[in-house]
């Protein structure tokens, strides 16, 4: 049973990735849709990352001030804006999280 669900979910997921690349969809996208799609990277990635930072996994509540991940994310954002470097951003974020969790 689990294999069936895995494979069906896999086929569906592939479908979500492929559907807009089929000829009849891809050739029919109007100009304004293409303009709007320029905002997809920012909108989707923000929608995933903000709850991952602000929502406490155990209580499902939004936690801002007593939340080490929030301050780590702020630190990572500052580093990202200053350096525009992926490795510096990820490592500064993880390092600030560890420092706050273990020493503060």
């Amino acid at each position: 049973m689990i294999w069936l669900v895995m494979i069906c979910s896999g086929i569906f997921t592939f479908g979500t990735r492929f559907v807009m690349l089929t000829k009849w969809v891809a050739d029919g996208l109007p100009r304004w849709v293409i303009d709007a799609l320029a905002f997809v990277p920012i909108a989707v990635l923000t929608a995933i990352l903000v709850p991952a930072v602000l929502i406490d996994p155990s209580t499902q509540q939004i936690v801002v001030l007593e939340n080490a991940r929030f301050f780590a994310a702020v630190m990572a954002t500052i580093v990202a804006l200053l350096t525009r470097n992926v490795i510096a951003t990820i490592s500064s974020g993880l390092a600030s999280l560890w420092i706050m969790q273990w020493w503060v």
Partner: protein
């Protein structure tokens, strides 16, 4: 950045131009040029994708551990990484399966979490639509958050090249290899990695690394703020559909701001850009 406006006719011709190389006899000069440009694009994709693996590999390890902890076998955990090939949806799958949720709900939740790929697919369509079917199937399979994030940036920022789809191949293959390897490592390492390391936090950090520097216009900022707000407000929605609601809201808000800005620009006399 607004993607470069290439009329469909020219784009189709570019595709024909490039594919005509495939029918030339080997050892021709044109063929050599073709493979050289393609290789360069592929390795550029690999190089752009590699830094993000600092976030992907810890998450793969975490998923390998979580899969076993949820009662999946090692083989199921590892194959889930190539069958689904989407980190967040794999976590949802493992957690719901462990909780004894009905299979249809497991599949449905995975589907809703992955619906965002429709948006990725749509925004890639204008760059990939001239490719033969086998290419579009392969690149579709490889179209994940992280590969999309770096390759769409390359496509939008240009310069346009008939071989640019090799960039997505490079970023996609890099992510695929890292994801499979780190899942296997997580299954083998098992519980030796303590929870307190918060390794799953590496993924939101990679997204920060991509999103923060890409906010350049007012419309980008609006898209970001609206998506963030909706993603928090819409948490109670069933089946994690808040991802899609927040994503679509952000896209719509960004586009409206962009449209307003352009309309204002058109009033000024020395403007030659129209919406057409």
């Amino acid at each position: 950045m607004v993607p470069p406006l290439v009329p469909p006719a020219i784009q189709r011709n570019m595709g024909r131009f490039y594919h005509s190389y495939d029918h030339l006899p080997h050892s021709s000069h044109a063929r050599h040029q073709c493979s050289r440009h393609a290789t360069a694009e592929f390795w550029l994709g690999v190089r752009h994708e590699l830094p993000l693996q600092l976030g992907v590999i810890p998450f793969g390890l975490v998923f390998g551990i979580l899969g076993l902890a949820s009662g999946l076998t090692g083989l199921q955990t590892i194959l889930l990484s190539s069958i689904l090939f989407g980190g967040a949806s794999q976590v949802v799958f493992a957690q719901l399966w462990a909780a004894g949720v009905p299979p249809l709900v497991v599949g449905g939740s995975v589907g809703v979490v992955n619906l965002r790929h429709v948006l990725y697919s749509a925004s890639m369509a204008q760059y990939l639509r001239h490719l033969p079917l086998r290419w579009r199937i392969l690149l579709g399979y490889l179209l994940t958050d992280e590969a999309y994030a770096v390759s769409i940036k390359r496509f939008q920022d240009g310069p346009h090249s008939p071989y640019q789809h090799y960039h997505l191949l490079g970023s996609g293959v890099t992510l695929w290899v890292a994801w499979q390897a780190s899942t296997i490592a997580g299954v083998i390492a098992g519980t030796t990695i303590p929870d307190s390391w918060s390794l799953s936090f590496a993924i939101p950090l990679t997204f920060i690394a991509v999103v923060a520097p890409s906010i350049r216009r007012r419309a980008d900022l609006v898209a970001c703020v609206v998506a963030a707000t909706l993603s928090l407000i819409c948490q109670p929605l069933p089946w994690k559909s808040w991802i899609m609601v927040a994503a679509c809201g952000g896209v719509a808000a960004g586009w409206l701001t962009h449209y307003q800005t352009q309309k204002q620009d058109r009033i000024t006399p020395d403007n030659d850009r129209g919406m057409s």
